[in-house]
Assembly symmetry: C2
Homo-oligomer: 299 residues x 2
């Protein structure tokens, strides 16, 4: 019998493969001169990545017996939003990153204008995918997906968090402000990925709330580990520049708590996340495994 990490690794790679197949179909090449836009969208989405958000969505959807075909479309939509945010965050005016997952970022591979537009188009297509009847036959469900994704990724979610992150470069934030920043910048999209499975499965309020609480703790644990990797990892391991937070004098969980306390905080949050899943009586095994994996990951 394979150990838990091996089983999880297999499941993660299966989902990654499946969602990449859906993205490949949803973002085709174009025969028109604007194909450069399509190439950039594909470049930004089809170049690896853990596909953590799709995996959370698929794992959550399976608890409620949602068909993989529907869940994969919703997962592709969430991944489009995640990838658009990376493309825009990497821009010279933002984080000015040249490398992502070990290869040139979109604006280095193409150019800045194309990167801006590819990000815009990826964000837009996410809502096109969710509003399509092939994602779910019930329009009420599709509307709830659109609404939840828009809220999680907009001014009160991911984009607001990114704005805060820029402000953090010149203002010293305390632990409360950092926690809020990270909940918005990465936590909300992780939460909506998990919640989308419940929306697709028309889950009860009790189940939806349990998943939301799980995702909230998971997202924070994930971010703390991200900060630890930036402080302690190597560019070779992570596939992106490291040590940039310290260089920029930016407050992170690690600079405020110290590496040791940050790590035990991440472990605690991961355990807490697993506890929220007890309501599913063992039917959320994959989500439990993810929570453990997130604190052990090396990139």
């Amino acid at each position: 019998m394979p150990s838990v990490p091996t089983a999880l690794a297999l499941a993660l790679s299966e989902t990654a493969h499946a969602v990449e197949g859906v993205l490949d179909r949803l973002l085709p090449k174009s025969e028109f001169p604007e194909n450069k836009l399509f190439e950039a969208m594909r470049y930004a989405t089809l170049n690896g990545g853990k596909r953590l958000r799709p995996f959370l969505l698929m794992s959550s959807a399976r608890i409620f017996g949602v068909s993989d075909a529907c869940a994969l479309r919703a997962a592709a939509a969430v991944e489009c939003v995640h990838c658009y945010s990376l493309v825009h965050d990497d821009l010279p005016a933002m984080d000015n990153s040249d490398l992502r997952r070990g290869i040139p970022t979109a604006h280095k591979k193409f150019d800045e204008a194309t990167a801006v537009l590819a990000g815009d188009a990826l964000l837009t297509v996410a809502f096109e995918i969710l509003s399509d009847p092939r994602t779910h036959e019930d329009p009420q469900v599709r509307c709830r997906l659109v609404s939840a994704l828009a809220k999680a990724s907009g001014m009160n979610g991911m984009v607001g968090g990114q704005m805060l992150d820029l402000i953090a470069e010149t203002t010293q934030l305390d632990i409360g402000a950092i926690t809020r920043l990270q909940r918005m910048k990465t936590g909300e999209l992780i939460a909506v990925s998990t919640e989308a499975g419940a929306i697709l499965g028309k889950a009860s309020a009790q189940h939806t709330n349990a998943l939301r609480a799980y995702a909230h703790d998971l997202g924070l644990a994930f971010q703390i580990v991200d900060d630890l990797l930036d402080a302690e990892g190597t560019e070779e391991e992570t596939g992106k520049p490291v040590g940039r937070d310290a260089e920029a004098g930016k407050a992170t969980f690690v600079t405020i708590l110290g590496a040791e306390r940050a790590r035990s905080q991440a472990v605690l949050l991961s355990e807490q996340a697993v506890n929220h899943l007890s309501v599913f009586e063992g039917r959320a095994k994959q989500l439990e495994d993810v929570a453990r994996f997130v604190v052990d990951r090396k990139k």
Copy 2:
């Protein structure tokens, strides 16, 4: 009795005022540090503009007896998308414009990173608004609005058109390619504004198609006049830099057809647009007036 242009001017300004009231409520200031993002979103949306797209949407919705409260929300969503596209198009990496409607563009007023994020957040909030039950009680209608707006503004619509526009700076396009570029870049959003009224009013296929044909011709006429204003207008009249197409050696309707033929083409398209409205037997008077206004405008 006021002349047609005066009546239209009044109606346009009434709608502009109403949609600005809705935008003001939907894009509030924030008490959190990320308020800069909210300020930039408000700056980009609440600084005038003709509000042509909201007016088309409201005029179309009224044909079918849609309540102004619902139509105004949809109009605000479309305007958010229009304004986001202006913010991103003005960026240094794109058109590099310092002036818009006579005042500094968003990245000049704030900074580039904030402008990118404000654009992203405006695009996102458009879908949040459309998916909200307050926009329409029927989720099927809301899904159709989301889908139509996403298609019109994404890779096969506005963003694809903007990509083509960038390509046009280095490639000589023929009249067919320019027409396709403009249909995508500005025509699709104008078309979806008009179509949204029909979607909200659950209009028949015949009526929806008539509005689509109207908007198609109107959008092209609008763009030809835009090119004429860029070639012949002054910065004082238009509130933005002029003569930039010629400077960039870019093919436009005016450089290909010449000013005279371009103008008569615009007039012809405007008349054709009005003809498509005959199916409404006089109930689409405002839309008729818009078609005439669009070719007479000075900015």
